[in-house]
Symmetry: C2
Subunit: 317 residues, 2 copies
């Protein structure tokens, strides 16, 4: 029986490993998605998701997350939520609601508080220091404040053929209060249909929501493309189209998996991801845009991983 998981960025790897163990032991894709994403939300050195995430311009850590069940199309989402350990778990619970399944701002935080979700000050001392440093750099060097939009986006397939998708992000570093990216938006940040497959995105949310790429990839897989063909065709065509129409195209990286456990990715920046299925154990790869609407994918090197580890834990000067 087929099963598998794929997710954006190196940070997803440990969660992907755990999810494959779960799926092998007949766990559900819904549980797998929550497991993958909670892992990243918990880890303090990933500065764009959950605990340790970087705050908005006012120093407040606002988080976005979404959950989708590919069997029923149930979706739950939150945006601008604060002080909650696991935004993905709040999103999953909201997916069971017929009404009020997407909550933002104080309404989202209040829902989490009154429904028993674990509260926590999610702003680490390290993140606060990075915020102070950036404010300083902005004042001194007129530096553009924005970067760091490494959303975790994940797709899982379980042995029964059910599929699920999820995302979680603290959004753009130094964003304005209340800014929402693509992560909680179905079609843009994620989409999954157990009859076909799913896709999820990371990158500049403001541009991703112009392209509805997660849905587009699922639709192309429905039309018969492999996940890799669907990713290449959707992402690079839209990259070209937006560059032509808008004059520029922000970073965008998509991952996809179909209902056979086959996967694909496409990206217009250097992009890491983790993937595994019933045939191949979890592994980290690095992808770059190739020529003629193709993607170059290589196994990650130990050198890259070591440098990454040093970078995310480096002292803040």
């Amino acid at each position: 029986m087929k099963f598998g998981s794929i997710a954006t960025w190196r940070m997803s790897h440990e969660g992907i490993e755990d999810s494959l163990e779960l799926l092998k032991n007949n766990g559900t894709s819904n549980d797998a998605i929550e497991m993958i994403i909670k892992h990243v939300e918990d880890y303090p050195y990933y500065k764009s998701v959950g605990y340790g995430g970087l705050p908005n311009i006012e120093g407040i850590l606002e988080m976005d997350a979404a959950f989708m069940d590919g069997d029923t199309f149930q979706i739950g989402a939150v945006a601008g939520i604060t002080d909650v350990c696991h935004p993905i778990s709040v999103a999953r619970k909201l997916s069971h609601e017929k009404f009020n399944s997407f909550l933002v701002g104080q309404g989202a935080t209040k829902y989490a508080m009154t429904n028993g979700f674990e509260r926590k000050n999610m702003l680490t001392e390290r993140a606060r220091k990075l915020w102070e440093k950036r404010l300083d750099d902005m004042a001194k060097h007129s530096l553009s404040p924005y970067d760091g939009h490494d959303t975790i986006g994940a797709i899982s397939l379980d042995k029964t053929g059910s599929m699920s998708a999820g995302t979680s992000s603290s959004g753009l570093f130094m964003k304005k209060p209340g800014r929402v990216g693509d992560s909680p938006l179905s079609g843009s940040g994620f989409y999954v249909d157990s009859d076909i497959g799913g896709a999820a995105a990371t990158g500049l949310g403001e541009d991703l929501m112009k392209g509805i790429l997660s849905y587009e990839i699922v639709r192309k897989m429905e039309g018969g493309m492999t996940p890799q063909e669907a990713c290449d065709e959707a992402v690079y065509s839209f990259h070209d189209k937006l560059t032509k129409k808008y004059g520029k195209c922000g970073a965008m990286s998509l991952v996809a998996m179909n209902n056979k456990g086959d996967w694909g990715v496409a990206t217009n920046v250097e992009f890491t991801f983790s993937v595994g299925n019933d045939q191949n154990k979890a592994a980290i790869y690095i992808a770059n845009m190739g020529e003629n609407h193709t993607t170059m994918i290589e196994p990650i090197t130990q050198e890259w991983l070591d440098a990454y580890e040093n970078r995310i834990k480096a002292p803040i000067k």
Copy 2:
């Protein structure tokens, strides 16, 4: 030269008329969209958009809006904004931002306030009374609180071939604080590409965001379908699919226009809309779901209009 506008519900009619005059005199589709929607936002007797809109469960009127330029794909959106006269104008201004173009909750309200948008207490005495009455009915009769999700969604085409889309809504009556529907979500609530056409939605946002129908309709028009074929095929296929997968499908009504000014609609409930172009002056129609994935469309009757007028202005008992 071709031009035209289409928008959801009878309430859009006066704005559609004005927009056709504007477009005839070489106005832009961007200006036409803002004009159509502001008209509805201003009118106190439309209880699901702007001034006079119905509040959330706590008696606070929270509004959602979005704007999309089909030439550049620029999108601006707000959700859960309060105390601002014209959410659509805030969304339009945000569409010029490279970053932070979708703002929610207090962040959205703060942006409007600090950028000079007209402030206003948008909760009318009539809306407050309806809220009190509903609270009372809920307590006495265990009535489901939710109804009233008549979003204004509009598409315009100007003589230069530019197209635009916009939406504005106070969302579900009695919604939880922070609840967001499909209106500010690109792909679900609206989508427009000047090379093809555009579409916009009204209905139960929680279900519309499961289907990404505005984008799907644009994509089907790109594939060669007329707007009517695209609406019929997208809406009724998804209605069937969601009913099968989720056991039910909420109200959904979509309008579309292509870059020749041809239009279409599809709906699974009784639905009114207004449309006009360079060939035909603005007119209100009523649509219902027909057999075999078709839509029955008839001109509105004076009888219907009179009953509507009486209904929206009836004393609150």
